[in-house]
Symmetry: C2
Subunit: 578 residues, 2 copies
Amino acid sequence: LDYQHVQVPFEITLWIMLASLAKIGFHLYNKLPSVVPESCLLIFVGLIMGGIIYGLNDRSPPVMDSDIFFLYLLPPIVLDAGYFMPSRPFFENIGTILLYAVVGTIWNVFGIGFSLYGICQVKAFGLQDVSLLHNLLFGSLIAAVDPVAVLAVFEEIHVNEKLHVLVFGESLLNDAVTVVLYKLFRSFCEMPTIKTVDVFAGVGKFFVVGLGGVLVGLIFGMTAAFTTRFTKDIRVIEPLFVFLYSYLSYLTAEMFHLSGIVAIIACAMGMKRYVEANISLKSHTTVKYFMKMWSSVSDTLIFIFLGVSTIGENHEWNWPYICFTVIFCLIWRALGVLVLTFFVNRFHVNTITGKDQFIIAYGGLRGAICFSLVFLLPDFHRKKLFIAATTVVILFTVFIQGMTIRPLVDLLAVKRKRESSPTVGEQIHIRFLDHLLAGIEDISGHWGQYYWKDKLEYFNSKYLQKLLLREYDQPKSSIVLLYEKLERKHAIELAEAGQLGHAPSPPALLNNNRTVTMDKKWEETLNPNVLDNIQEILARNLYRIRRTGPAYNRHTLPGESEPVEHAQEILILRHKNL
Amino acid sequence: LDYQHVQVPFEITLWIMLASLAKIGFHLYNKLPSVVPESCLLIFVGLIMGGIIYGLNDRSPPVMDSDIFFLYLLPPIVLDAGYFMPSRPFFENIGTILLYAVVGTIWNVFGIGFSLYGICQVKAFGLQDVSLLHNLLFGSLIAAVDPVAVLAVFEEIHVNEKLHVLVFGESLLNDAVTVVLYKLFRSFCEMPTIKTVDVFAGVGKFFVVGLGGVLVGLIFGMTAAFTTRFTKDIRVIEPLFVFLYSYLSYLTAEMFHLSGIVAIIACAMGMKRYVEANISLKSHTTVKYFMKMWSSVSDTLIFIFLGVSTIGENHEWNWPYICFTVIFCLIWRALGVLVLTFFVNRFHVNTITGKDQFIIAYGGLRGAICFSLVFLLPDFHRKKLFIAATTVVILFTVFIQGMTIRPLVDLLAVKRKRESSPTVGEQIHIRFLDHLLAGIEDISGHWGQYYWKDKLEYFNSKYLQKLLLREYDQPKSSIVLLYEKLERKHAIELAEAGQLGHAPSPPALLNNNRTVTMDKKWEETLNPNVLDNIQEILARNLYRIRRTGPAYNRHTLPGESEPVEHAQEILILRHKNL
C-alpha cells in the first residue's frame, strides 16, 4: 500500500466527493431543503465531522487554510456570480449598490469598532486591554457581508431581481473596502505612531484597490474575448479561456494587493457577451454548466470546512464581548440601511420600500471571508476572542437569519422574481424605451444612465465588436438571439414530443406580404444594425417556408450558399411592392 | 507586489495558457497541422522554451515531474480515451489486443533487453558495465507503446476503426505489463540474488495487477452509475461524479500498485451507458466537452514539457547504444507484430492484412510514459545514458514515424474510417445479426463472443439496469436512443434554417396503418424490451402527428399525461385490425 504517493489528490477528491454526496443526501428528503437552507445543513455536517475528528484525534481538527480559501475556493463562486449577474438591474442600481458597499461598509466598520471599544471600557467584562485599533480591525473584518453566504440563501428565496441585486452586489463590491480597511488597520496596529498622512493614504488606496481591480478585470476580459476570436478551428479548448483569463485576473489583482473579487467580476461581466458570440453553442453550454458545477462544489466545501473549523480549542469565550458583537452587527447594519436608503429614495422615482429595506438589513449574512480574515490576523493575545466572536456571528447570521428569512419574505409578501423570461415583444419595447429615454436625456442635456448606456453601446458597436468578434460572425442584437434561442428550444420540444412536421404552416404563407411591408415601417424607428438582423432572419424564414417546405426530406441539408439567393428574391419582391 | 502568495496557481495557469495559445497558434496557419502532427509542433515549442530557460538561467530547465505526470496529466487523457472508446470494435478484437499488449510487450522487453546486452558486450563501445538486468529494466520501459503519443497521431490520420482500436487498445492495456515488468526488474536490480520463486511471483503479479485494475475500475464505475441514480434534484453536480469516481479509481489502483490506466479504462467503459441514461442532456454535453477539453490540455502540456525536459545536461551521449536502441525498438516490434498476427489470422475470418500489420508496427510510438519511468529509475551510474536513449527514441518515433505515417497511410491506401454514423436501419440489422449469431452459437454449443455478449446483455437488463438506472427512466435500447438523437439534431437544423413547420407530413399519415400492422411482425423477431420502446415511440409519434398537427401553437406544450391515452387508442386501433 503506497498511500503517501497519492495522498494529496486522493484526499482532495475524497473531500469533494463527501461534499457532493452530502448535497445529494439533503435532496433525497424533499422537505429538508425547503425548510433549512443548504448552507446550514452543510455547516451542520461540518460540525459533526469536526466533532468526530476532534474525538478521534483528541486535538483540534485542521482549520480551513486561508490560502486555500482565497486562492482556490472563492474564485469559482465569484466567477459564477459575475458571469451570471443580470447586467441590466446591476447597472441600473449601480449607484445604490456602491453606496451600500462603500459608505455602508465604512459606517458598519466604524460603528461596530467604536461601540465595541465602548463595551471594552466596562470594567466588569475584563476587556480593558483591547485597544481601539484592535476593535476597529475586528470591525473591519466582521462588517463585510459575505457573497457566498448571501448567494446561498438568496438563491433559494427568489426575491425580486432588484432586491437580489442590491444585497448581492453590495456583498461583492464591499470587498474593495474590506481589503483596504483590514490592511490599513492591521498595519496601523503594528506601527508605533499613526500620522495623518497615513490616513489619507488609506483613503487614496481605496480608489486604487477598487478601480485597479476593475481595470485588471476589464483588461483580462477583453483579452479573453479577443483570444476566442481565433478558436474557430479548435472548438475543444474554447471553454478553457473563460476560466483561465478570469482566474488570471483574480490572481493578478491579488498579486498587486488589489481587490481580486472586483477584478473577476469585471472580467466576467466584460467578456461575457463577446465570448458568447464567439464560441460554439456546445462550448457555451460547457462553460455555463461547468461554472455552475464548480461554484456549487466550492460553496459546499466552504460551508463544510466552516463547520469543521468551528470545533476545537481556538476560542476564548468572553460572552459579553461576543453577544455585544452580534447585537452591534445587527443594529449598525439596520441603521446604515435606513439612513442610506433615505438618501437613495430622495433621488429615485422607483423607491426602495420599507419591506425591501428590512430584507436588505436582515440579509446581511457573514460567512467564510470574515472567518478566513480573522485567522489571517497577526498573533496577539486576544486573537482567540476575535475568532470566537466571528464564529458566533457567522453561525448566528447563517442559522438564525438564514433560516428565518424565507418565512419572513413570505410573511411580508415581498415582491418575488417573475418566473417567465421576457418575450420578444417585451424585449422590443424595452429597447424602444431605452432609445427614447436616451433621446430625451440628450435633448434635456441630462447625462443620466440612458445617455451613458447609449454612448457605451455606440462605442461597443463601433470599435469593440469589430475588434473582439470574429468577422464572419456578424454581431447579433439580443432580440435576434432571443428569437433564435426560442426557436431552437421549440424545435427540441417538438422533436421530443414527436411532432416534427415538414410542411409549412398556412398562416405563415398568408402573412408573407404583410410582413414585408411592415419591414419598411420598422426601418424608420430601429437602428440599421438591428434591422438588418431582423430582416435577414425574416427573409430567410419566410422564403424557406414558402419554397422548400413540402419538398424537404431529411437527407438534403440546407445549403450554405442559398441565403444570398433568398435575400435577392426578397429584394425583388419588395421592389414589386414599391 | 506579493508574488510568493499566488505563485503556484499563477504558474500553473500560465503554463496551461501557454499550451492553449500554442494550440491556437498552430491552427492559425491551416496548412501546418495537416503536414506536421500537433505533437511534433508542441515538442518543438517545448524545445525552444527549454532552450530559452537554459540560456537565461545557465542551468538545466526543470524536468517534468513524474508525480505530476502520473497523478495529474495522464488520468484525464486515459479517462477521455476510455470514455470514448468504441466499445463494439474493442470487445470484438479484445483477444487480439490482449495478445499484442501482453505477449507483444513481453516479447519486445526481452528482445530489446537481450539484444542491447549483446551490444554491451562489444568492447569498442565501452558499455561492459551495463548488466543484463539493467538492460532488461531499460527494455521494460522503452518497449511500451505510449497511448498519449498514439492517440495524438492516430486521431489525425483517420484509419479504419479496427486498426485504430488495435494500436490504441494495445497502447492502453500494455500498462499492466509495463508496470509489472518495470517494478520487477527494478526490485531485481536491488536484490543481491534472484530466486526462481521471485520470477513466478512476478508472473502471478501480472494477473493481480491487470485483473485487479479491472476490478477496481468496475467497482468505482458501478458506484458512479449508482450515485447518478439520485441526482435528479441537483442536476448541477452530475458531471462531477463522472470525474470524481474515475479519478478515485485511478488513485486507488495506483495506491495498491495495480494498473491505474486499466482501472480508469474499466471504470469509464463500465459506467458510461448507465451514467448517460441517468444524467440530463446538458450534463452529458458538459461531461463530454469538458473531458475532451481537459484531455486536450493535458496532452498539450505533456508534449511541451517533454520538449522542455529534453534540453539540459541530463544526458550521456553514447551513440552506439542509443542508435542500436532505436534500431532494436523498430525491429523487435515489427517481428512481434508479424509473428503474433500470423497466429491471430489463423483463428479469424476477418484477417489483419499486410498493410494493417505495417501500420500497427509503424504506429508503435513512444512517449511521456517511457520518459517519466526513466526519470523514476533509482540513481546508478548509467542512468543518464538511459535518459539519453529514451529521449532519442521518443523524438525519433514522434517526429520521424509520426510525420511519415500519414503519407504512408495515403500511399498504401489503408482502409479509412467511414465518415457517417450508422443509420437506424443498419443498427437494426446489426442487432438482428447479433441475436442470430448468439442463437447459432448456443445451438452449436460454441461459447463464442456472441454467446457471452448475449449472456452479459441478459444479466445487464435483468439485474444491473434495475440497480443502476432510475426507475422512471425506462432503459432505452440503442436504436431508440439513436432515433431520438437524429430527431433532435434534425429539429435543431430545421430551427436554424428556419424551416420549422407545424403541420403533419402527408406520407406519415398514409403509412399509419401499415406501420401498425408491421409492429406485429416485429413482435416475433425482436426481444420484448426493444419492441416496447419502438412501439412506444412509434405510437407517440404517429398519433401525435395525426391528431395535434394543425392545431398546434407554441404556447401549448404537449402534456405529460397524454402518452397513456395515445397508447390506449393505438391498442384499440390494433384490436380493430385483428
